[in-house]
Symmetry: none
DNA sequence: GTCGGACCTCAACCGCCGGTCGAGGGTTGG
DNA sequence: CCAACCCTCGACCGGCGGTTGAGGTCCGAC
């Protein structure tokens, strides 16, 4: 889950996240042994914090106020171009660890229905995602990334963008992975993740750059 | 004149104004004997600085960038509810500190050499990046994204991946932007950025998912 | 002239914010 | 049993946004 955020925000570290927790900006759940367990809502929240900090230069105090206000059910405050609000939608309960990326990582194994529930998508959408190879089962199970992909697809769907429009994303990802694997061939260690984060970073910068022209 | 500003901003002091001058945010004229002489334009400028600081929590560096940008004849930047812009006369503006890329947004305007220095890349690499359209100048200037792209490319280069290998990234980014622009056609507001973030998120999840299989 | 007060410069200092580091220790998967 | 994580907690840190003070100059009033 750290990798995930690092792809988007270059300078996030474990210690920074711990610091943010100490400041009361996030409150991840804990496992029995004390490890932090980040739900997707927690990650949304962090994304909000980091975006506000980076793009609006808001001090943490102010960000905390905003979050607190939202928690009390108020409209997201902040005048002007603010980061997208982390909508903490009611999570379908049951299915204990469906949102857990940190401790189980990709070892997370979901059934088809669990995935649907966790991502809040219809069976139809999931079918489309699979038919375009955006979500792929391993054996009978899906992992944490599948949830993220499905959720993103659901958001796109709200703008009328269907899975088939997203196929280029898959192709692009495949090409990047191919590139990385070529380089990292011999030693298949954490260099791989490093390069992947780098690739995503480049990608993000390019998108932004093209957009603002 | 101090009294004048103090009426509006309680915590302004002489020493603060002197400090702001030292930071290059205002450049009042001087009398023969060295006393500061504030024109009304200077006061407008200070008003802008103090408002931006108080109401938008902007760091002085960013405020300075905005002022510099305006001095260069650009439209007042700053997304969102910004303080009323003071239209000042052109002031001698120092060049941005090239090492400070992190604090500059896309309003940043760098010369070719400034970009090279900020990203720590060779002229050759930059040329390659431009020939593959990974980095593109607007007019004679480059923006903050160019630094990010250049730095990422430099890291890739350490793994033997050259700009030409990165062309698919550009193509993918272009496709994504095309998709977004199609959707966002009518209302060209901050939905755009929201969608772009979503796209990058999907991309990241896909890369991870493909990688860990 | 000369005195007081307001202005100047420059360097040293300061408090807070936003983290980082590292020692000391538990947990987990292989 | 070990390596690789994760945890806490307190010390530390660099930068930002000024403040303070010593030492000196300028000006108007007496």
């Amino acid at each position: 889950m750290l990798q995930l955020l690092q792809a988007e925000f270059a300078d996030v570290t474990i210690s920074k996240i711990r610091f943010l927790e100490a400041e009361g900006l996030v409150t991840p759940a804990r496992t029995a042994s004390g490890y932090r367990k980040f739900s997707t809502a927690d990650i949304e929240r962090l994304r909000y914090v980091l975006t506000a900090q980076r793009d609006q230069y808001l001090p943490l105090k102010v960000i905390k106020d905003h979050l607190d206000a939202m928690d009390r059910g108020l409209r997201p405050p902040a005048p002007g171009g603010r980061p997208a609000a982390p909508q903490t939608l009611p999570q379908p309960a049951g299915l204990p660890d469906a949102e857990d990326f940190s401790t189980y990582g990709t070892e997370l194994k979901l059934t088809r229905d669990e995935l649907r529930e966790a991502a809040g998508i219809t069976a139809e959408l999931l079918e489309q995602l699979e038919s375009h190879n955006l979500v792929v089962a391993r054996g009978n199970h899906y992992d944490g990334d599948a949830i993220l992909i499905a959720k993103a697809a659901a958001e796109f769907a709200q703008y009328g963008i269907e899975p088939r429009h997203l196929r280029p994303f898959r192709a692009a990802a495949d090409r990047e992975v191919g590139l990385i694997e070529q380089v990292v061939q011999p030693r298949r260690d954490d260099k791989t993740l490093e390069l992947a984060a780098l690739a995503v970073r480049l990608h993000a910068a390019l998108v932004r750059s093209r957009l603002t022209r």
